[in-house]
């Protein structure tokens, strides 16, 4: 009997992920980090950081041992947000880096995320090579007198903030009164420093970083925002509220009047803000993201490129365009990458962009949200039974033959003002079901879909 925790282990192009102990073990960490040390070109250091999970210490020790054994000098940032790790890779002109942390997953999980030169995510070809090295288990360990050296860097935060300050008008943005739910994660490091150094007025809740019991699951979605953050908005007189995942690469938000906003709104709003500002006219997103993106982008004469779900598809799509062609890339989860920040998922930058939008339009967050047509989205999941997936997709396709279908990733069916998407998750053993409709919640369609998918489980 394979338990659910044991099935949590995922070794894929995106890296290594799983529930620590039952799924992801020290042996996986050693081998995967050794493969990465073998994969990287020799001669440049590697930057490592982690989120506050207790298992992060164990994972870090394994990562350090493997990289040092491969002859890599390692710069350990300790507990550090992913965007800061990526920034440090560029600043030090490092060969790459590893972020240890399972971002939006529960505290029991952990993961390794790999970055290459210039902190960009590995391409599919590179990720496949890394996987091949991992499976071959032939690692380039060096001799005793060529082992790497371990260095630390306690000052990674300020250069990262300097770069943000060069893009955003800190002087103007700091007047906003902003409540942030740090979810016991690393965003508090950045925000506390912004308060101290630049005079921002972030009011932090769930600020204390925790290794075991996160204040709540660090999922950046509307329900989580509604849980703790939204009710605080009016009592605290806040202009905006934001919620970050554990490693600060995703964000969700609440308006000043206490409304929890769907995480799906982050990308269309940022596209709306960025498209008139830059030369880039392309918005890259996946087939599970809200149709509002299309409406907004068309309004600015831009174009939406829809790819399969997952970071890897977005990275590969990005690499086929020149950076200046692109306005933004992102997904409905609240994870976005902007060209100013060299396409790194950065929740802090996303938050600052939304605040800049408020300032530029001189509008309240609720007013900006209300300026878009209303779409209602429902997301759900059903446990996966792998061998029945093809039959399931075929059956759905026949049943909904009247819509426009896309098979970029699972099955998406579109009707005017309405669509659904059914696909197999890359990170968990589940089938994900998403459907959206202009106006009211597509409860009937969603209910039918869930039932249909369940009938194949």
């Amino acid at each position: 009997m394979v338990t659910e925790a044991a099935r949590s282990l995922r070794i894929s192009q995106v890296g290594l992920r799983g529930v620590i102990g039952a799924g992801m073990t020290a042996a996986h960490v050693l081998d995967f980090a050794s493969a990465f040390g073998t994969f990287l070109e020799p001669g440049r250091c590697v930057v490592v950081g982690r989120d506050p999970r207790a298992s992060g210490v164990m994972v870090r020790e394994g990562v350090l041992a493997a990289l040092l054994a491969c002859g890599k000098d390692v710069v350990d940032l300790g507990i550090a947000p992913s965007p800061v790790i990526q920034h440090t890779i560029r600043r030090l002109d490092a060969g790459g880096g590893i972020s240890i942390g399972a971002s939006h997953n529960a505290a029991s999980w952990n993961a390794l995320k790999f970055f290459g030169r210039n902190a960009i995510y590995l391409s599919t070809a590179e990720a496949n090579e890394l996987l091949d090295i991992y499976h071959l288990k032939k690692f380039s360990f060096v001799e005793w007198n060529q082992l790497g050296t371990l260095l630390t860097d306690d000052h990674a935060l300020d250069p990262y903030l300097d770069d943000l300050a060069a893009v955003y008008d800190f002087e103007a943005l700091r007047k906003f009164r902003v409540v942030v739910d740090c979810c016991s994660g690393t965003s508090s490091l950045i925000l506390r420093r912004m308060n101290d150094r630049f005079g921002f007025q972030f009011i932090l809740i769930n600020e204390k970083m925790r290794g075991v019991a996160f204040a709540h699951e660090p999922a950046t979605n509307k329900d989580m925002v509604a849980l703790q953050l939204a009710p605080l908005m009016q009592p605290l007189g806040a202009d905006a509220g934001f919620l970050f995942d554990a490693d600060s690469d995703r964000v969700a938000f609440a308006t000043e009047n206490g409304a929890a906003i769907s995480e799906e709104m982050v990308l269309p709003m940022l596209a709306d803000y960025l498209l008139p500002h830059g030369a880039g006219k392309l918005v890259i997103t996946n087939v599970s993201t809200t149709a509002l993106v299309d409406e907004v982008v068309v309004r600015h004469g831009g174009e939406v490129i829809r790819v399969a779900v997952g970071r890897q598809a977005a990275i590969d799509a990005l690499s086929t365009y020149r950076p200046e062609q692109i306005a933004i890339a992102g997904e409905g989860t609240g994870a976005t990458m902007m060209p100013q920040f060299r396409f790194v998922y950065d929740g802090i930058a996303s938050m600052l962009a939304l605040l800049s939008m408020m300032r530029e339009r001189d509008a309240k967050l609720s007013q900006i949200v209300a300026s878009y047509p209303r779409f209602s989205i429902l997301k759900g999941q059903v446990p996966l039974v792998t061998h029945r997936i093809p039959a399931l997709l075929a059956s759905l396709r026949e049943r909904y033959a009247d819509g426009r279908t896309s098979v970029v990733d699972g099955l998406r069916v579109d009707w005017p003002g309405r669509w659904f998407h059914v696909r197999v998750s890359q990170t968990e053993p589940v089938v994900r079901i998403i459907c959206e409709q202009r106006g009211d919640v597509p409860r009937e369609l969603y209910g039918t879909l869930i039932e249909l998918v369940r009938s194949f489980a």
């Binding site: 529930v19 620590i20 102990g21 039952a22 073990t25 020290a26 042996a27 960490v29 050693l30 081998d31 050794s34 999970r53 207790a54 298992s55 210490v57 164990m58 994972v59 020790e61 394994g62 350090l64 041992a65 493997a66 040092l68 054994a69 505290a107 029991s108 999980w109 952990n110 690692f139 360990f141 060096v142 001799e143 005793w144 007198n145 082992l147 790497g148 371990l150 290794g211 075991v212 019991a213």
Partner: protein
């Protein structure tokens, strides 16, 4: 059959190998996780010597221990005996030292200690090896994973207080001995200068005391590798010179004329010092010189002999509640009143204390010991050839008293012969001792002849 290079060995002595392709971080991590599983979680102490691979392996071992649900107490670069005493004193569940002791710098190893701060005995090691091979490790969940605590200062203090309790430190300090030290840039480089200079008031001339540098000489402290300190002692008018191995458990001693004392004689001097202080018997291995028997007899004490290997000596020392023990040839002095492990610091303190007490030079003290001649040799060989040699030897010396507990030891009226198989390398080890050099040469040649042509 070509001679196999033993670049990695996982066995009853733990895990040891050439770092890189052989002793990999993954292997060290798994072994540590097996250890963490075996000791059942709790605090585990982790220290190391100065080998370049120490840092990398520290992280690998910490990873494995944490993954098994242990809390790691990282105590940094320290001598092995210091690490062991810290384990015992802090009531940890166990400890791991990363050191390949006297092996060359490309090697490293995991030395394993139980909750008493003692080397795993043979039974514990066998259980651990089984557990390692079964790969049935405890896989701690996030909430079970402990952290890493650093404690770099407490351990040497603990160790040296225990050593000084068994000598008259005041009379040593009063003498302001002129001492030379060669710490081989090993763990002793961190703690020995302070021990000799600050605690024992010595005027110290030290070489190879930079823990960031590689070993400047062969790691094993034996006469042929100690040229630098042997020359330094007379040149700088030192009264005695000490040389350690990289993890500070073994000691070699140089007299004021620059002669490297025989390690068996150093052990004999330590046995004498110990028996002057405490009542009890002595345990040494089969290959250790008969000089120990003479010294013990002078105190009316008995000597127990064991197979070669620190674990064997320690086990018997526990069984007979011995006062002191050791293994002559390798410079190991074990004095359980301080701790049941080889400890170069106890050796240094004992010798300085005897010099202070008697006012004698170290060469004079050594010269007073009964004089034996020895020849220790080794021959590369294939397994399976020991049996015929043993039979030939027994046939050749039918009247000899025989001990077959580790190879064969023959006690003859004119001396003794010991042949055994090395535990760590494909080598036949030959030892001969007698009262004259001519007898030694004759017996040694006879053993070689029988080895080449078994009767």
């Amino acid at each position: 059959m070509p001679r196999r290079e033993h670049l990695l060995k996982i066995g009853v002595s733990g895990i040891r190998g050439v770092v890189g392709e052989f002793l990999t971080p993954a292997l060290a991590c798994s072994f540590a996780q097996a250890f963490g599983t075996y000791v059942g979680g709790g605090r585990v102490v982790l220290g190391r010597d100065t080998r370049t691979s120490g840092e990398m392996l520290t992280h690998a071992v910490a990873c494995g221990l944490l993954a098994a649900g242990c809390e790691v107490v990282e105590i940094g670069i320290l001598p092995t005996p210091t690490i062991m005493m810290y384990v015992a004193a802090t009531h940890a569940q166990g400890g791991i030292a990363l050191t390949a002791s006297h092996n060359p710098p490309e090697y490293n190893a995991l030395k394993l200690f139980n909750a008493q701060g003692l080397f795993f005995n043979n039974y514990e090691r066998a259980e651990l090896i089984d557990l390692y091979h079964q790969s049935d490790f405890h896989q701690a969940a996030n909430e079970e994973i402990g952290g890493i605590i650093a404690d770099h200062d407490a351990a040497p203090k603990l160790h040296f207080e225990k050593v000084l309790a068994h000598v008259d430190a005041e009379r040593i300090r009063k003498r302001k001995f002129r001492v030379a030290l060669d710490a081989v840039n090993g763990a002793g480089a961190v703690t020995t200068p302070g021990f000799l200079r600050d605690l024992l008031g010595c005027d110290l001339e030290a070489i190879a005391v930079d823990p960031t540098k590689v070993f400047p000489r062969e790691a094993e402290p034996k006469p042929e590798t100690l040229g630098a300190i042997a020359a330094l002692v007379p040149r700088c008018h030192r009264e005695i010179g000490f040389a350690q191995d990289p993890d500070g458990d073994r000691l070699a001693v140089i007299d004021e004329t620059g002669v490297v004392l025989d390690n068996d004689d150093v052990l004999a001097l330590a046995v004498d010092a110990a028996l002057r202080r405490l009542p009890g018997d002595v345990v040494v291995n089969l290959t250790t010189s008969s000089v120990i028997d003479d010294v013990a007899a002078a105190h009316g004490r008995r000597v127990y002999r064991t197979p070669v290997g620190e674990a064997n000596v320690v086990e018997t020392m526990q069984a007979v509640n011995a006062v002191i023990g050791g293994e002559g040839s390798n410079g190991g002095i074990i004095f359980p009143a301080v701790h049941l492990c080889r400890d170069s610091y106890t050796g240094m303190a004992f010798l300085l204390d005897r010099m202070a007490e008697t006012g004698e030079k170290i060469s004079t003290l050594a010269a007073r010991l009964p004089k034996y001649y020895r020849h220790y040799g080794k021959v590369a060989y294939q397994h399976g050839r020991l049996g015929p040699l043993m039979q030939s030897l027994e046939t050749r010396f039918p009247a000899a008293e025989k001990d077959r507990s580790d190879g064969l030891k023959l006690l003859l009226p004119e001396g003794w012969i010991h042949v055994r198989s090395s535990n760590t390398e494909p080598l036949l080890r030959l030892a001969v001792e007698a009262k004259s050099q001519a007898t030694v040469d004759k017996l040694y040649a006879e053993v070689l002849r029988l080895f080449a042509n078994p009767a």
